[in-house]
Amino acid sequence: MAMATKKARKPTAVERKLVGVADLVVAAAQRQKDPTLAIPVRALSNITFNERRGLLEMGKRKQARSFFNVAMAKKFMQTVLVADALCELQRANLTTSLREIYYRTKHTITGSHENTLDTQDESDPLIEDLEVTLEALREELHVRAENAGSVVGPLVLEDDGDRVDCARLGKGGYSVPSIVEPEYLDIKRCTADFVLLVEKGTQWNRLSEDKFWRRYNCVLLTGNGQPPRGVRRLARRLHEEKSLPVYVLVDNDPWGYYIYSVVKQGSINLAFESQRMAIPKAKFVGLSSADPEAYGLPRNVGIKLNDKDVARARELLGYAWFQKKPWQEEIKRMLTSGLKYELDALANKDFQYLTKRYLPRKLKEKDWLD
């Protein structure tokens, strides 16, 4: 399994961190101590909302993962295995997917019929564990997600030496890679006035087809649902490097609100990355629970909130980063009406209502939530 390492090559910082896991085991064994990894807890209870910075920050609480504990032994073993696989990637200078990590680390344990891992569900959280423990980003670990996002607009990028003009890529746009760090993706030029991040691919297609970006001079981004890291990171880079305001357009349901909050403050699960991902100044343009009335959407294009929606909305009401008065009103309004609305529902009025009426009016009235 071990890759032939070039003697001359200097180990990267991440590689050194990964080797540190092995050092920890060796050191503990020498002192006859239980080898233990201290893994920051990735849960709401260990998250604080830094109001000044507008970011979610990971707390100091850590969980111990020890080898000589029946409940944790297997996980500990798996964690070391995954660290080994990640280190192999570093040495070979390759990137890979979560699924490939799973396959790489799966084998039968010698002397038994037990597998090291049974499903990918076991290895995925271990990678996140290592990310937070070693304070290494997933990109730095060379693990990529799927290219699940698209961008179009007056933006010129350089990817692997190829010049990509996002204004000349037709309706389809450029597929945002999972790793958009400056080493991999260079922003050559951007003349846009703002970034519009759309939750749904369908609505992004609508805007792209109608050349909304040309008329309003903006970069159109979508992540097809919960935006992947590449999309979030690209939006953040445009915001930071080109000082573009970022607007978020999502469905009017609790999941839409949460997508917005992830873009703005970071996610609970990977709060430690929010300093590189979050865009605290991002604005919520819609769909707001006030819009159906303001834009005359008929009640019958709404969808009744189910029990899960209601429970999720109540949870949001409790989050520290949703405590601003307009937000409390926004969520409560939705709960009171008992309905959620999809962006697609705007088509009820006109196929191009979103492009021609809704967004222009929103932007003109500066009708957004912070």
Binding site: V19, V70, A83, D84, G111, S112, T116
Partner: protein, 641 residues
């Protein structure tokens, strides 16, 4: 205008005549269990074996029964057993034999027998079975029933060929002669019937297998039509105590029955009748009943009819009368059930429960239940082999969804049909097996490699039909079954939990040992192969040993297999040995002709010896398993089921 009647009353009257019982059953043979050829074959075997066992037990003889089922070729070459449509059934026993004069009537007259008129626990009840089987054979093949019987070595054996006159319900003797027979005593009955032989559920094979489980005192040899010979040696050398005959309990009769008894009694006064013809009615109580019913205790029973009889009946039902005596019952007993289950079913855990006697409608009864759980240690290597392929994603969830099997008995006779109509089956479904560590879907049998045994012993088992396939649901019966099952379940739960604990100890220890190599190898790779691997492994192993309690745990694990302490009437089988009330199976080397009493004494001695052996060290206490052929058969049967 009313239509002119086409048939006059006179004409109708000319057509009205008596129907003989035999004629009735000729037309309604499904009522007796001859619905289809496969079931008919089973019913014929069953009736003959039941009769043989009843006779032996009543005479105090340990039964030794030979069942032979052969295919009959009609001139052509014999077809394979599964294709054949005609079979010859021969059942031979070592019972007391039958006196010459009675033979024709017993085998060729319906509703003729010794068991109907008395309240005594026996397999047969009505005196229909064997003669109906013979009649079925006669109807389908035209062949008479052939009987050989001999009552002792000093008397000659008699050979009979009899048919039944279906109009008159009388035997027709086709042949009667003295012959020489190799047996000193016993009866042999041979029938040729149309049937179908198919293994599996509700087959003759299953009947034989289940019979020997509930009757471990029986030695049974079965020659299957496909040429297989299954010898089931006796595994419990004690004859069940002979049940006493009792008089009916007043609560158990209906008005019509009371009227008939009033007519038939030999007593001259009502009070004498009540005290003499019923159980639990003292002369004093009889007087009280008469007084309460407004009858003179001196009145002649024959004069009590109509309203007076009805008042008497109601008064009796309203009077408090002691529950009937229970010595009329002969339950199998926990030890014998255990022996039967242990010898014939593979498993890791066995337990048996006999409930105290209870009463329904004036009939005493006893419920017994047992459970055999697991696949037995012998299947271990086989199971391990299957696991040897590393599992792919999703494969691990494929668990075994085998459901438990219920085997039902009434007076030691297995009930093979109409399972879902039976009170036993319903009680099993209604028991919450989940409380005892098993999985059970709603409205289904519990899951797991398990056989649930339930036996009802009673002077009168309430069947739902003549063919005696399902026990009717009386609240009292249902309650007793439930209580017995719960007790079995409770013990099984204790066993399962204990075993689970032992396993988790084992796992605890294995986990570290398994994972150390993985961790060491990964660390070595992380360090670029520069690690002193052996040293790291040794250090980690040292820690693992310390953490799991070292050798002390080793010892503990060896011993902590989970003994049957606290689990009465149970057997636990582990790869290391067997614990519990293992029946010290004493093959009875005495000849079948030995004095029954002497035999019983001998077996009683062996029983006490067996009890003493209960706490012997495990390795030494494991007796050679007997009845290998039997268990192999049982195993095959279970698979098929």
């Amino acid at each position: 205008m009313p239509a002119k009647p086409t048939v006059s009353a006179v004409e109708m009257g000319a057509r009205q005549r008596e129907i003989s019982v035999s004629e009735f059953f000729t037309k309604n043979r499904h009522l007796l269990g001859f619905d289809n050829p496969r079931k008919a074959l089973l019913t014929c075997v069953k009736e003959a074996v039941d009769n043989a066992l009843d006779a032996c037990e009543e005479a105090g003889i340990l039964p030794d029964v030979v069942v032979r089922v052969e295919t009959v070729a009609n001139g052509e070459p014999a077809p394979p057993a599964s294709q054949a449509s005609r079979f010859r059934i021969t059942v031979t026993d070592n019972g007391p034999g039958i006196v010459r004069q009675q033979i024709p009537r017993i085998f060729a007259k319906l509703l003729y027998g010794s068991k109907f008129h008395r309240l005594r626990m026996s397999r047969g009840q009505q005196g229909i079975g064997i003669s109906a089987a013979g009649m079925y054979g006669q109807l389908t093949t035209g062949k008479p029933v052939r009987i050989i019987s001999r009552t002792s070595a000093r008397t000659p054996a008699h050979y009979f060929e009899v048919e039944i006159d279906t109009k008159k319900n009388e035997p027709l003797i086709r042949e009667s002669k003295q012959i020489t027979w190799e047996r000193d005593r016993g009866t042999q009955v041979t029938m040729e019937v149309e049937g179908r032989y198919q293994k599996g559920r509700a087959s003759v094979d299953e009947y034989v297998e289940q019979t020997i489980i509930a009757n471990p005192h029986v030695e049974l040899t079965y020659y299957a039509p496909d040429g297989e010979i299954k010898k089931h040696p006796r595994t419990y050398a004690e004859l069940p105590p002979s049940p006493r005959e009792i008089k009916p309990h007043p609560y158990g009769i209906e008005l019509g029955m009371l009227l008939k008894m009033l007519q038939d009694t030999a007593s001259h006064s009502v009070s004498g009748f009540l005290a003499g013809d019923f159980s639990r009615v003292s002369p004093q109580l009889a007087e009280e009943i008469c007084k309460a019913a407004g009858l003179s205790p001196r009145a002649r029973p024959r004069d009590v009819h109509g309203e007076a009889a009805e008042t008497l009946y109601k008064t009796i039902q309203a009077t408090r009368i002691m529950a009937p005596p229970t010595n009329c019952l002969s339950p199998i007993g926990e030890r014998a059930i255990l022996a039967g289950l242990y010898q014939h079913l593979k498993g890791d855990f066995y337990t048996a429960v006999s409930r105290p006697p209870a009463v329904y409608r004036g009939n005493p009864f006893v419920i017994e239940a047992g459970v055999a759980y697991g696949r037995g240690p012998e299947q271990g290597p086989e199971g391990r082999q299957k696991e040897a392929v590393p599992l792919a994603e999703g494969e691990a969830e494929e668990t075994d969804h085998e459901l438990a099997r219920v085997i039902r008995y009434a007076n030691r006779v297995p009930l093979l049909y109409q399972q879902s109509a039976c009170a036993i089956y319903k009680a099993v479904l209604d028991t919450t097996w989940r409380n005892y560590g098993l999985t059970q879907s709603r409205g289904a049998l519990p899951a797991g490699p398990m056989v649930i045994f339930v036996h009802m012993a009673s002077v009168w088992v309430p069947f739902t039909s003549e063919s005696k396939e399902a026990i009717a649901e009386y609240d009292e019966i249902r309650k007793e079954i439930t209580l017995a099952l719960r007790e079995c379940g409770r013990r099984l739960g204790v066993f399962l939990r204990r075993r689970e604990r032992a396993h988790s100890e084992q796992r605890r220890r294995n986990i570290f040992e398994l994972y150390i190599d993985e961790v060491v190898d990964s660390c070595n790779r992380l360090k670029g192969g520069t690690l002193p691997v052996a040293k790291l492994r040794e250090q980690l192993q040292r820690m693992a040993m310390k953490r799991t309690g070292g050798e002390k745990t080793d010892e503990l694990l060896g011993r902590n297999g989970g003994g049957p302490e606290g689990l009465p009437h149970s057997i636990i089988v582990t790869p290391e040995g067997v614990e519990g009330e293992v029946p010290v199976a004493v093959p009875v080397n005495g000849t079948p002709d030995a004095e029954p009493n002497a035999e019983r004494r001998a077996s009683a001695e062996s029983a006490t010896e067996g009890h003493g052996a209960r706490r012997r060290p495990r390795a030494a206490s494991r007796p050679p398993r007997r009845g290998r052929a039997g268990r192999a058969g049982a195993r095959a049967g279970r698979r098929r089921a």
